[in-house]
């Protein structure tokens, strides 16, 4: 027979254990997979320092937005900002957390990594399917002295909905009117050409497998997978190399001061050294939280991360926000969030 007394005792002990745990503040967040690696690293160190645990579920930006709207998590994270109207409707506030770069990755025999230069117009032409061969005059013009093969270009894009695609298509929409009218921007779009890989790793794998292909991946994936990445001509007309410096230059020159609720996509930033396809992930929180104590822990966590987490972010090939932006975010917290 069941021993009910024993079971009751066990349940009691378990419940006591749970409530004990809750007093050490266990906060949860959900959303973008883009920030998952750096958030989990930050939260491990934060837990060591303060004993507070930040659990993050990387379920995708769409899921993160849905969960914070339903107020089932303490913070959401999205690769795409919410507009003022939507924030107001659900009583939410948002701020950027960390920067990453997206690079065109290619696989052409005889053209090593960093030897190919592209600009926005040409990149849009390739992804529209109107530039079909590597030796096209438009590409050759940007790459004097590089021997480009007479081979058909295979375009690789993301098959899943993703913030990486959102930032990439946002950039193409900014630099190419044709892209804007024919395709537009979004986490998933109707791709005019090419094949789709699932996730950054899927695109990286396809680019490695298929000769004469070009795709776009987060910078870290291009490094990790040893794929060639292209240099880009930016909005100021200068050829830039992807990396910490150019990503940070993009964040620094973007016009954050005039962006309400940090609603600003950093692509095609104006700075002379800015990498043109730079992205961030927004953390979204409720302004008047049910559980103010948890909300406070989340803000403490991000305060600590933004001020002290730069080195850890850099290890994972992310770039920390520039100091001026961090100051602006902290002022936003004071003004907007009850804690």
């Amino acid at each position: 027979m069941f021993n009910f007394r024993k079971i009751a005792l066990a349940v009691g002990v378990a419940a006591a254990g749970l409530s004990l745990h809750a007093t050490a503040a266990d906060v949860t967040g959900a959303g973008s997979s883009f920030v998952y690696p750096v958030l989990s690293k930050w939260s491990a160190t934060f837990a060591e320092k303060t004993g507070n645990h930040v659990n993050y579920q990387s379920i995708g930006s769409g899921g993160g937005i849905a969960q914070i709207k339903a107020d089932t998590v303490d913070f959401g994270a999205s690769d795409k900002p919410l507009d003022a109207e939507e924030l107001a409707k659900f009583g939410l506030g948002q701020f950027p957390s960390v920067i990453g770069g997206i690079v065109p990755a290619y696989n052409i025999d005889g053209v090593d990594s960093g030897k190919l230069v592209l600009d926005g117009k040409v990149l849009a032409g390739i992804f529209l399917g109107s530039i079909t061969h590597w030796n096209d005059a438009a590409i050759a013009r940007l790459n004097p002295g590089v021997k480009l093969p007479d081979a058909k270009i295979t375009v690789v894009h993301r098959s899943d909905g993703s913030g990486t695609s959102f930032n990439f298509t946002n950039y193409l929409s900014k630099v190419s009117p044709e892209w804007k009218t024919k395709v537009g921007e979004g986490t998933a779009v109707r791709w005019p050409a090419g094949i789709g890989g699932k996730g950054n790793e899927g695109v990286a794998a396809y680019v490695k497998q298929v000769k004469n292909s070009i795709g776009y991946v987060e910078y870290a994936y291009a490094l990790k997978n040893n794929i060639g990445y292209a240099l880009m001509d930016n909005a100021a007309g200068k050829t830039v190399k992807p990396g910490n410096a150019s990503f940070q230059a993009a964040a620094a020159t973007a016009d954050w001061a005039h962006a309400q609720d940090f609603n600003l996509i950093m692509t095609n930033a104006p700075g002379a050294d800015a990498w043109p396809i730079t992205a961030t992930t927004w953390v979204i929180m409720v302004k008047q939280p049910k559980n103010a104590a948890n909300s406070k822990v989340v803000l403490d966590f991000f305060k600590w991360s933004l001020e002290n987490g730069q080195a850890q972010a850099q290890e994972l090939d992310y770039v920390a926000l520039p100091a001026a932006l961090v100051k602006q975010i902290e002022a936003y917290w004071q003004a907007q969030f009850k804690h």
Binding site: I59, G60, S61, G62, G63, I65, A66, K152, T154, S159, D160, G161, S162, V183, G184, E185, G186, T187, A188, V189, R190, W191, G194, I195, G196, G197, K198, A205, Y206, Q209, V210, K211
Partner: protein, 322 residues
């Protein structure tokens, strides 16, 4: 006195047995109803979840090949086409192959070899589909790109009419690759069903045929196959059902593009891989469209299984007559 006690005990036992029986029947009924409830629940909830797209846009969803999340216009024709074409290729390859395997194991192989090979085939069925997907992407795709695709493009691709099916750049990914990987995945299912039914052919019939001077092929074609035809078809449909719903392996090697191309060497998409790819980030009408795709797959698979059921039943009737 003792007999009275015995009778009383028996009566009590009978009453207890009847109660047990009743309970047991009740439990069984609940089990069966649970399956039915799950089935209905799945069908109705996908129908409900996809209603905005299924009924909101007329026949557009079924007839259009345009899948545009930016403009929120969805047509399911590309995934449906991809699903049907890859499954067809899989069946075209897997059926003759399975037939050969099953015949070899029941008719030709030496006795000591039959059990190990049959077990090995059944073990193939236990490999998770993601493993087939990874093998497909890292081993089979480069092989297709370097050897098979250029060969097809330069030989069959030059033919009139049929040529359109085999023209294209050597990507390695695409409908044909997905079909072949699917074929490898369903061979174990079809061949083990075939092997089982081939074993049910009475030795009497085969021996009579051999005694009349038939070759092995004649015995197979005129005796074994007619005797087991229905069950063989049932087995093929089971394999087809699996091919239609396969997700991960297909996602890896299909290319995931909503393009509509006549060439089998070009990338495509399938119902299940579209759902797996996009569901995470889909909101609103996009999500509704993906759920509606799920409902379509449900309908297709359901019809296939119904046909298999019906064929198996008619086989049973035939056996009863024999």
């Amino acid at each position: 006195m003792p007999t009275a006690i015995a009778i009383e005990t028996i009566c009590r036992r009978n009453a207890a047995d009847a109660l047990h029986d009743k309970l047991f029947r009740g439990v069984l009924r609940v089990c069966a109803l649970l399956v039915l409830a799950a089935l209905l629940g799945a069908a109705l909830s996908t129908l409900w979840g996809g209603r905005e797209v299924l009924f909101g846009d007329g026949w557009h969803f079924l007839t259009s090949a345009q899948w545009n999340p930016v403009e929120n216009r969805y047509g399911a024709w590309a995934p449906i086409y991809g699903t049907l074409v890859t499954s067809c290729i899989a069946i075209l390859i897997a059926v003759p192959l399975s037939f050969g395997i099953a015949l070899f194991l029941t008719e030709i192989a030496p006795l000591w070899l039959r059990t190990p090979v049959a077990t090995a085939i059944e073990l193939l069925a236990a490999i998770p589909s993601i493993i087939y997907g990874m093998w497909g992407l890292f081993v089979f795709v480069p092989f297709m790109a370097n050897h098979i695709d250029p060969l097809l493009d330069s030989s069959l691709g030059r033919l009139p009419l049929v040529g359109a099916l085999f023209r294209g750049p050597p990507l390695g990914l695409g409908l044909l690759t997905a079909g072949i990987v699917l074929a490898i995945m369903i061979v174990p299912f079809i061949s083990s069903v075939m092997r089982e039914v081939f074993q049910t052919v009475p030795a009497r019939l085969k021996e009579s045929a051999y005694a009349l001077g038939s070759t092995t092929w004649e015995v197979v074609w005129d005796i074994i196959l007619p005797y087991t035809r229905q069950a063989v078809i049932g087995g093929i449909f089971l394999g087809l059902g699996r091919a239609l719903g396969e997700t991960m392996a297909v996602t890896f090697v299909l290319g995931n593009a909503y393009d509509f191309s006549t060439s089998l060497l070009m990338p495509g998409t399938s119902i299940s891989s579209s759902i797996a790819n996009e569901f995470n980030e889909a909101v609103g009408l996009h999500r509704s469209a993906l759920i509606a795709l799920g409902f379509l797959l449900f309908v297709v698979t359901f019809v296939v299984l119904l046909i298999a059921r019906w064929m198996l039943r008619s086989l049973k009737r035939k056996e009863g007559n024999a």
